[in-house]
Symmetry: C2
Amino acid sequence: MKGKEDKTKGTIGLKQLAQHLKLSTTTLSLVLNDAPSAASIPKETKDRIFKAAKELNYRPNYLARSLRAQRTHTFGVLVPELSDGYSSMVLSGVESVLAAAGYLYFTASHMHNDELLDKLPQVLVERLVEGLIAVDTPIRSMPQVPTVTISGHNAVEGVTNVILNHEHAAELGIGHLYDLGHRSIAIIIGQEFSSDTEERWRTIGESAERRGIAIDRLVTVQLEGDTPSPELGYEAAKSLLALGEKFTAVFAFNDISAIGAIRAFEESGMRVPADVSVLGFDDIYAAAFQNPALTTIRQPLFEMGRLAAQTLLDMLVRDPEKQFESVLTVEPTLVIRQSTARVPVTL
Amino acid sequence: MKGKEDKTKGTIGLKQLAQHLKLSTTTLSLVLNDAPSAASIPKETKDRIFKAAKELNYRPNYLARSLRAQRTHTFGVLVPELSDGYSSMVLSGVESVLAAAGYLYFTASHMHNDELLDKLPQVLVERLVEGLIAVDTPIRSMPQVPTVTISGHNAVEGVTNVILNHEHAAELGIGHLYDLGHRSIAIIIGQEFSSDTEERWRTIGESAERRGIAIDRLVTVQLEGDTPSPELGYEAAKSLLALGEKFTAVFAFNDISAIGAIRAFEESGMRVPADVSVLGFDDIYAAAFQNPALTTIRQPLFEMGRLAAQTLLDMLVRDPEKQFESVLTVEPTLVIRQSTARVPVTL
DNA sequence: AACGTTCAGTAAATCGTTTTAGTAACAATT
DNA sequence: AATTGTTACTAAAACGATTTACTGAACGTT
């Protein structure tokens, strides 16, 4: 039997504060929120209120407030997977913006699972998130709250998509390899389900052709499987070797697969970059500390997170009337490290 | 002027549903929640209600419900940093448990910043999280909601701490190196602020002494700085070399610093593991795909996340009366890869 | 003295549920 | 015929704020 005490345990409500001050909750609310109509309340009373609020450690109940104001100051973020280094980088960026704006966010991972892809947006909307950020995640149905995608898979009416400038990325990558003298380039392309797969392949092809490398001269293999592990790149590189085609450089779909590929090559007695150059993509944390350190096309993941969060915030708070761009492009950069080198002089 | 329409836009409330059915909200609520007192309501009426709810796509308002029930089904998770591979692994584990229980969680990163360390728990409590999970994060003041820490820094009354079996970890690490013949072992110890630093050092010392390696024979350097980058390990290894002491193996504080150390050694012309063995700690994703692949003491981070979340859930829902252990221990495992080898035979 | 203004506040509705405590209407029991 | 029990519901009070629309008192003006 402790019900009586429990009532007041921990937090004090506006009502008890009002009782204590012998004032109405209205007055307190007005004063504490500095409402315009509190202008007529004398400073003395205000001070009394503030003082008591501080002393009794009054904290407004967020639920009650949210219910009334119909605002939760909460976003939902959908990611494929938390532990792959890509999502968490984006989340960092998202958080940096939201924290400053007094927002928090729910994260939900769908693991590329169909059922979850349908269910999770629902769950988040039911939790009354004010907006949704979908990272490398297909949007199956018209979202019910303002949404921004990052590396979105498909264009959806009313949804702003933050994407990398793929043309530029391909140019940087192919250009770099070309400048090093590579003319036979193998490409490890992404899985079906990855949003960037198709676009990456298209733009790489264009960049290659622009330099007179016939697109059908490009040897390609595709990543298979959905674990975020270099194993996939390892397997891909093995198949590449099995093809027996000649290549002096590999442009991998991402850093993870590049790392796996390097391992496969070294196992086969080829030195990277002496015998074969390997170019990654993304610039995840691990890339810089590979051995050899990975040359890669950097996606500004943190920035993309920031940009998405800021855009969503603008949609909701700053400028709800504005028509927002349907695509926001961010620029890749070439990060030259040790995994690429001049094409070896054969005979 | 579109206020009129907006009211019904999107979601329909219980009230409108009741009006539509010419029943009271009470009845609907009882039926929809399958309350015991709904026993007397005839099936026919119930079906009518369910049907209408489905047709009009009724979704109960989470805020209203939470306000009434005083339950938010939300946890708060405090992490030092999202992008370091450690936290996101733990979060994955946390999420796997929470998702199944219908809980969501807020993440907040404090970056080891004093002000945030004080403020963030407040913020989360104000958002009415039902419980808190603090990952590698010091608890400054008595938490106001049930709390579980992971790799907690300090024992706090009433807080359950999920930690690694450090003795065992040290035994595995030192034992492994010892068995390979190493007798001069350098230790890279963690930063001041890291929870595990002290304990790690103590247990390593004990394991070493147990094997007759005098503790003062251990060469040590400490990581400096708070970026989650191998750079720190690189610097540490450089200072280690500068000391001029002899060592044939290095036991690093974590994988990140081990990776940096390997780089430093190779730059100085030492081969890993031929000339020097390097042992990491944690087994983050990148460890397996280093070159050489990192031998390391694996912390079951995902499991630790699961365990913490499950424990917190038990505290709140399953068994609130139970006295919970103040420490839950998880076991490390030795993952042998390529960065450690037999001590080289000198002269 | 009557009227309008400012001052200092409050009552009550509202947000959208859940839950307690009923209440009519009818049937069964004594 | 009065009591008790079921059945099928509902009114109203929570939950804890915010906000609209007042109200009485004091003051100033003509």
